[in-house]
C-alpha cells in the first residue's frame, strides 16, 4: 500500500509479494479501448519488474462485438489466460460484458470495476421487442453491489465529461483500477503519458486522478442506500415461467441458403444443412429475438413467440 492511498476505503488489495500470478481481466465491446487499457497495464507491470502475459481476443473488434483481454503478471507466469474464478480484478468497460464475465472473478477477494455505460450491439441484444424477454443482462448495479463485496460501478464517461474530455473515460477507469493494484501512482502516470497523444497528456492525468479519487472515496454502503440508477435494459419478462420456447418456423422452399440468419442468430441456433437450407439446431437456445426473421431476405423464417408484443 502506497502512502498516496488513503486507507479509508481501499479495495482489498492482495500483496504483490505472493508468488501466484496476479490476474486482471479487462472486457468490453469493440472500439471501447479494452486493448489500450490492457497495454497500459501490461507495460506498467513490466516496468515494475514482473513477468507479464497479455492475451486478447478482438475478432469482432470493428463490429461492436465483444472484446476481452487477459493480463497476468507475477514472478513467473506460464499460462497466458485466466481460468474461471481466478481473476483478481475484473474491469468492465461495458455493463453487460462485465456481467457475462462475472464467473471469472475470484470469489470473495475479487474486485469488480465496471463502467455503467451500456452498449447494446445487435449480437448481445436478443429481443428488441419492448416489454418482451430481453437478452441484455438483467442485473442492475444494485444487485451486483449487493453480491460482490468489492464492487465499483462508476460512470466513467460522466466523470470524463465533467473534465471536458469524453475520450478520457478510459483513463478514468485506469484511475479506478489503480486503487486495486499496488503500484505507485507516479508509475501509472508515466506509463499513461506514453500512451496518450501528447497534447492530451494533461487532461488524461487529471482524468486518472479523478478516477482514482472516485474509487477511494467510494462508500459502498451509502451508495447502496442512495442508489438511483435502478435502470436496466431488462424488463420483466412478459413470458410466463414455463412458457414454451419461441418456435422458429422455416419455409424450406423459400430459403436460398444465403446464411444470413445462421450468422446473425445471436444464440447460434440455426445451421445450414447439406442441402444448403437452413435448419433449427438448438431450439432451446432460441430467445425469440426475431433477428433471423427480420433479416431473411426471402421471408423463409417466421418466429412464433409465446407472447407477441408489437414494437
Amino acid at each position: 500500500m502506497t502512502t498516496a492511498v488513503k486507507p479509508v476505503k481501499a479495495p482489498n488489495t492482495p500483496p504483490l509479494t505472493i508468488p501466484r500470478p496476479h490476474n486482471v481481466l479487462i472486457v468490453g465491446v469493440g472500439g471501447q479501448g479494452v486493448i489500450m487499457i490492457s497495454k497500459v497495464l501490461a507495460t506498467l507491470c513490466q516496468e515494475q519488474g514482473f513477468e507479464v502475459k497479455q492475451s486478447e481476443v478482438h475478432g469482432m473488434a470493428k463490429r461492436g462485438g465483444a472484446v476481452f483481454s487477459h493480463v497476468r503478471f507475477g514472478e513467473i507466469v506460464h499460462s497466458p489466460t485466466i481460468p474461471e474464478g481466478e481473476a483478481d480484478v475484473l474491469l468492465a468497460l461495458e455493463w453487460a460484458e462485465g456481467m457475462r464475465w462475472m464467473p471469472y472473478l475470484r470469489q470473495q477477494s475479487g474486485t469488480f470495476i465496471a463502467d455503467t455505460q451500456r452498449i447494446v450491439p445487435p449480437f448481445a441484444c436478443r429481443n428488441r421487442t419492448r416489454g418482451a424477454r430481453t437478452g441484455y443482462v438483467g442485473e442492475t448495479i444494485q444487485t451486483v453491489m449487493e453480491q460482490v463485496e468489492n464492487s465499483f460501478a462508476l460512470d466513467a464517461m460522466g466523470i470524463a465529461k465533467q473534465l471536458g474530455v469524453v475520450k478520457a473515460a478510459n483513463t478514468v477507469l485506469l484511475g479506478a483500477l489503480s486503487t486495486a493494484l499496488d503500484f505507485p501512482t507516479e508509475a501509472w502516470k508515466s506509463v499513461i503519458s506514453k500512451f496518450v497523444p501528447p497534447q492530451t497528456t494533461k487532461v488524461n492525468l487529471l482524468a486518472f486522478d479523478a478516477g482514482r479519487e472516485w474509487a477511494l472515496g467510494f462508500d459502498r454502503e451509502s451508495e447502496l442506500r442512495n442508489i438511483k440508477d435502478t435502470r436496466s435494459l431488462h424488463q420483466e419478462s412478459t413470458v410466463e415461467a414455463g412458457a414454451d420456447y419461441s418456435r422458429v418456423e422455416i419455409t424450406e422452399e423459400w430459403c436460398k441458403g444465403c446464411d444470413i440468419c445462421v450468422k446473425f442468430c445471436p444464440e447460434r441456433c440455426l445451421i445450414m444443412n447439406e442441402k444448403l437450407i437452413v435448419e433449427m439446431a438448438e431450439p432451446e437456445l432460441c430467445t425469440g429475438c426475431r433477428m433471423c426473421e427480420w433479416l431473411c431476405p426471402d421471408f423463409a423464417i417466421t418466429v412464433h413467440t409465446p407472447n407477441h408484443v408489437p414494437l
Binding site: 472500439g31 441458403g257 446464411d259 427480420w294 433479416l295 426471402d298 423463409a300
Partner: protein, 277 residues
C-alpha cells in the same frame, strides 16, 4: 386506420405467396427492405386495396410484384412520373414508389428533383445497392470509390451522389435514410415517411450480394449486411447505444422534415380561390 395495426404483423398477409420464392439472388438486401415496407404498411393500418405500389426497372423495380396490392411496374426511371399522375387522379390511394439508385438517380434523376420540388404526397423508397444488378453489375451513381464493376475495370473513379442531400435541396418535405440491417428502424422510418403529408424521399442502404459483393470481395451475404454497420459504426466507437450512427460519414434516420404545402392541396386551394373570383 384499420384494426390490423393492433394485430401482429404477418408478412404473408401482404405478399403474393404464389410467386414465392421471389426471383432475387440469395442474400439480396431488397428482400429485407420489402419486409420493412410491408411492416410499416401494416403498422399504419393501410388497407391493401388502397395501396398502390409504383416501381421502375431494375432489381428494385421487380419487388413490387410480390406485394399483394395494386402494383404497377413501369418504365426505367419513370415511376415517379407515373406515380404523380396516379396520385393526382386518385388522392384516395397511398402511392409508394420503389426505385433503385440507377433508376432514381441516373435515368430518373430529373423526375426525382421535380417530384421533390412539387411535394406531392408520395413516398419514394430508393433502394441503394450501389450497382446496376439486373444488367450484370455496371457502375451506378452511388457506386463507392474504387469499387470494381463491369464498366469500371480499374475501379470507380466517379464521385458519388448523395441522394438525400439532393432530395432535400430539391424541396422534398421529408428525407430519411436507413439500412436494411436495422430492420425495425427502417420500418419506423418508412412509417414516418408514409405518414408525412408531402413528398418523402427515403434512401435504403441495401446490398447486392451476388454481383457487387462478389466482384469486390465484400464477403458473403451476412458479412455484407453486417458491414453496413461496420463502416457505419466507426465514428461512433465508444459512444453509447442510442447515439446516431454515422454510416460512411453519412447520417441515418430522419434527416429533414418540413411542412411546406403539399402539391395537390395547394392546387385545389388555388382552384377554389379562382372559382370564388
Amino acid at each position: 386506420m384499420l384494426d390490423q395495426a393492433k394485430t401482429p404483423f404477418e408478412i404473408r398477409d401482404y405478399i403474393r405467396q404464389q410467386l414465392f420464392p421471389h426471383f432475387m439472388c440469395p442474400g439480396c438486401g431488397h428482400g429485407i427492405a420489402l419486409r420493412a415496407l410491408l411492416w410499416a404498411i401494416h403498422d399504419l393500418g393501410i388497407a391493401k386495396d388502397d395501396l398502390a405500389i409504383v416501381s421502375g426497372i431494375g432489381c428494385s423495380g421487380r419487388i413490387g410484384a410480390y406485394i399483394d396490392a395494386n402494383t404497377f411496374h413501369t418504365t426505367h426511371g419513370r415511376p415517379l412520373a407515373f406515380a404523380t399522375g396516379l396520385k393526382l387522379a386518385r388522392p384516395d390511394l397511398h402511392v409508394i414508389v420503389i426505385t433503385g439508385d440507377g433508376d432514381c438517380l441516373a435515368i430518373g434523376g430529373n423526375h426525382l428533383i421535380h417530384a421533390c420540388r412539387r411535394n406531392l404526397d408520395i413516398t419514394c423508397l430508393m433502394l441503394n445497392n450501389e450497382i446496376y444488378g439486373m444488367t450484370g453489375g455496371q457502375v451506378s451513381p452511388t457506386t463507392s470509390s474504387d469499387r470494381y464493376t463491369t464498366t469500371t475495370p480499374e475501379g470507380n473513379y466517379e464521385p458519388v451522389f448523395d441522394a438525400c442531400k439532393l432530395a432535400q435541396g430539391a424541396g422534398a418535405g421529408f428525407v430519411g435514410r436507413e439500412m436494411t440491417l436495422q430492420t425495425p428502424s427502417l420500418k419506423k422510418l418508412i412509417q414516418q415517411g408514409i405518414a408525412h403529408p408531402g413528398f418523402s424521399f427515403l434512401e435504403v442502404i441495401s446490398d447486392c450480394t451476388e454481383i457487387y459483393g462478389r466482384k469486390n470481395d465484400l464477403g458473403e451475404s451476412a458479412e455484407m449486411v453486417l458491414s453496413q454497420k461496420a463502416d457505419f459504426r466507426s465514428a461512433s466507437y465508444g459512444m453509447i447505444a442510442d447515439e446516431v450512427f454515422q454510416p460512411r460519414n453519412v447520417k441515418t434516420g430522419v434527416l429533414y422534415k418540413d411542412d411546406r404545402p403539399e402539391y395537390a392541396q395547394a392546387y385545389r386551394q388555388k382552384i377554389a380561390s379562382r372559382a370564388k373570383k
